[in-house]
Structures are given as C-alpha cells and as structure tokens.
Amino acid sequence: MSAKPHIDAMTPVPFTVTKRTQELADTFTLELTPAAAGGAPAFLPGQFNMLYAFGVGEVPISVSGDPAYPEKLIHTIRDVGAVTNALSKLKKGAQVGVRGPFGSAWPVNEAQGSDVVIIAGGIGLAPLRPAINHILANRTKYGRFVVLYGARSPADVLYVKQLQSWRGRLDTFVDVTVDHAGRDWAGNVGVVTRLIGRANFDAHHTKVFICGPEIMMRFTIKELTGLGVAKDDIYVSMERNMKCAVGHCGHCQFGGHFICKDGPVFEYARIENLLQVRGL
C-alpha cells in the first residue's frame, strides 16, 4: 500500500465533496472523491492531508476514514478558524484542493500480537479512527483491544453510533467518559485517565496510541507509565502549525523534528524531553 502523496506534493488536486455530515455543533465530516478520473490515494492510519479551501487557505487535517476503502477520502474537521470555517460551508458538489497524504502512521503492524489501547480526547478520536478500523478488520492478529474516549459533555461525543457499534462487538472493550453531564447521562463522568485503571490490559505487552490535547496526553502518559507501560510502547499524535507538509518551511519544527514529515505520530520515548520544554 502506498502512502506517498500522489502527483506533486505541493500541487493541490481538486476533489469533489460527495457528502457532508454535521457531527457536533462545531464539527463536521467531509467525504471527498477526486474530481478527475482515477482513485484517491491510499493512506496509512494516522496520516493527514492538506485541504485547500479555494481563495481562503490550507489546513492540515488527519484522514479519518477507513484505510481499507481509500476511494472515499474522509476528514472530520472542527470549525475553529477562517479555513475550517470556509470548509464547513461547502455543500455537496463543491470542490476542495487536496495535497497528501503526509506524515507518519500509527504502528498498527508492529502492534500485532500485543494488546492495543487507543486513548482519545475530543476530536482526537478522528485521527485514531483509521487505526481502529484497521485493527477491527484484522482483529485476530491482536490481543485485548481497548478504546477509551473522553469528551467535554455527552453532546460533544464524536462518532456516537460507531462507538456504540464497536462496544457492541464481543471482542472490543470501549469506555467513554465526559467531563460533566446532566442526570439523563448514565455513563461515566470524570477525566479519561480514570478509565485506564479499569481497562484490564497487560501493561507489559501493550501498544498505546494516544491523540488529544497535549495536556490530556501528558496526564494519560503519566497514568500509563505508572501502571508499567514502557515509554517506547506509547505513541502520540502531535499537532503544530503545519504549512508546507513536506519539511521545507519549518513552521512545524519541534526540536529536531518536523511534525509534518517526522510525525505527526511519534513514539513517546523519542519526544519525551521535548514535551517538557516550555513554549516549544
């Protein structure tokens, strides 16, 4: 499977919006197909594309679709700035420029034979969904499979139907928590780190994939290492201001790394010291 950008890495390719789904109040999903003949490029779980809202600008967005079906290029996007706001207004039939896929991937093949724990916070579930899809499609190759997800409130839980579907499988442990809720919520309330101790995985034979706000990842890693998970078994997806996506412009430099080229997925042991540098 190729995971390299098709055509020229710096030239956006026109794609057509074939479906738009409003996921949450400020979060939506675009399904894209190439405007010209030929399929969408294959991607690896964890990689991202640069999406170009014509006349407004480009943003890096993780691919959140199923890697087994790359012909549907799917991105879940939070409307937080000028470009994502322009993308949010696109309707079926509109065009978007796409460059990619770029960056490193979740080590789904290296994780075979181990327990796998996925820990996501907020919209961080989107970059992890391709890894979840891949593991579920190859379920017998992995040990215990755990998905832990934290959101702000019940109204902010992303991919509710898929979480229910994953939880309904007899071979996957899914637990969800929110920071606060009304009395009509019968699920967990509390931070996502509190789910870890109840997930019952083998800390010494586990690969952990984490994506969410950096502060959430820090607390999560502290909890995991306290349980005995090795630092080189923990992988995180980092976020910085990516512009060129090919390691030329330097906007996303993170110590000696470029997030766009060397990341966004990093083995925690490689960047542990950088995460402790203030202002980096």
Partner: protein, 155 residues
C-alpha cells in the same frame, strides 16, 4: 437492606483495605454496615450531616451538584473499588454534594461517630486510615484540576 455479618471479610476484599492488618480491619468492622442502593436512590444530599462514608463493592454512584436551572450536574462517577464520603473527616461534617446510585450499588459503610471515637483512642489506626485516604483524595484533586482545564476545548 442491612446485613451485619461477615463484614470483615467483605472489607478485606475491597482495594482500600488491602494490606491492612486484621486487627485494625476488625476494629473498623465494628462501625461497618453492608448496604445496597437501587438505581436512582440517593445515598446523601448536599448540606445534610455526613454520618457515614462508603466503600463501593459493586455499582456506580454519581456526585451531583443541585442546579437551580436543571435536575443536577453530574461532576463525577465512582465505581467498583472506589470510596466516597470523606465529609465525615472535615467539620462541620456535612455532605458537599448529592450522591445518587446510577445502578444497583452495593457498599460497605462506616458510621462516622463510631469511627471518630475509635480513632481518638487509637492513633495508630487513625494514621493507618488517613494514610489510605490521602492518596485517594490526591488522585481526586488531580482529576478535578484536569477537568478545570476544559482540555477538550470549546464545542
């Protein structure tokens, strides 16, 4: 439903009491009661005297703030093996939240007045108990601080 037999054995199975010597545990068991709460039952109400504290054997309880504008805001849920109700340790010994059973919940509870009397006589037991409570409180405080960061951002 209240049962008073075999409480020491039930307490020994709860994570909070793991490693505690049998004599200390049996002393505490003299203040203990085995209880169950059905889904929706209130264990405690904010502002009422905190006469007992609780060790969850199985089930889930929600810590709630009563809100004028709605039914209540759930700020945390606690599950099997966890502890709640340390208002018994802090004057004026009143509950700080409402506590509601989310599902059928089985607990061991300790009666606060009985316990305070025993701890005044037995400082070593007091130290043992407080040494076990402090890490629980520290973890809860850390969780509360994480929630304060509103880490998932505005939606």
């Amino acid at each position: 439903m209240v049962k008073v037999e075999g409480l020491d054995k039930l307490m020994a199975e709860h994570p909070f009491f793991q490693g505690m010597d049998e004599t200390s545990r049996k002393t505490l068991a003299g203040c203990a009661r085995n209880e169950r709460f059905g889904a929706g039952d209130y264990v405690a109400h904010e502002g009422k005297p905190a006469e007992r504290f609780y060790f969850i054997r199985s089930g889930t309880v929600a810590l709630e703030f009563h809100m004028p504008s709605n039914d209540g805001l759930v700020i945390e849920t606690l599950h099997d093996g966890e502890v709640f109700g340390w208002s018994w340790m802090v004057p004026p010994y009143e509950w700080a939240y409402d506590i509601r059973a989310v599902e059928l919940t089985r607990v061991i509870s300790l009666e606060a007045t009985c316990l305070r009397k025993k701890l005044k006589k037995d400082n070593a037991l007091g130290f043992e108990l407080y040494s076990r409570f402090v890490p629980v409180m520290a973890k809860r405080l850390s969780s509360a601080r994480q929630q304060l960061t509103d880490m998932y951002g505005k939606s």
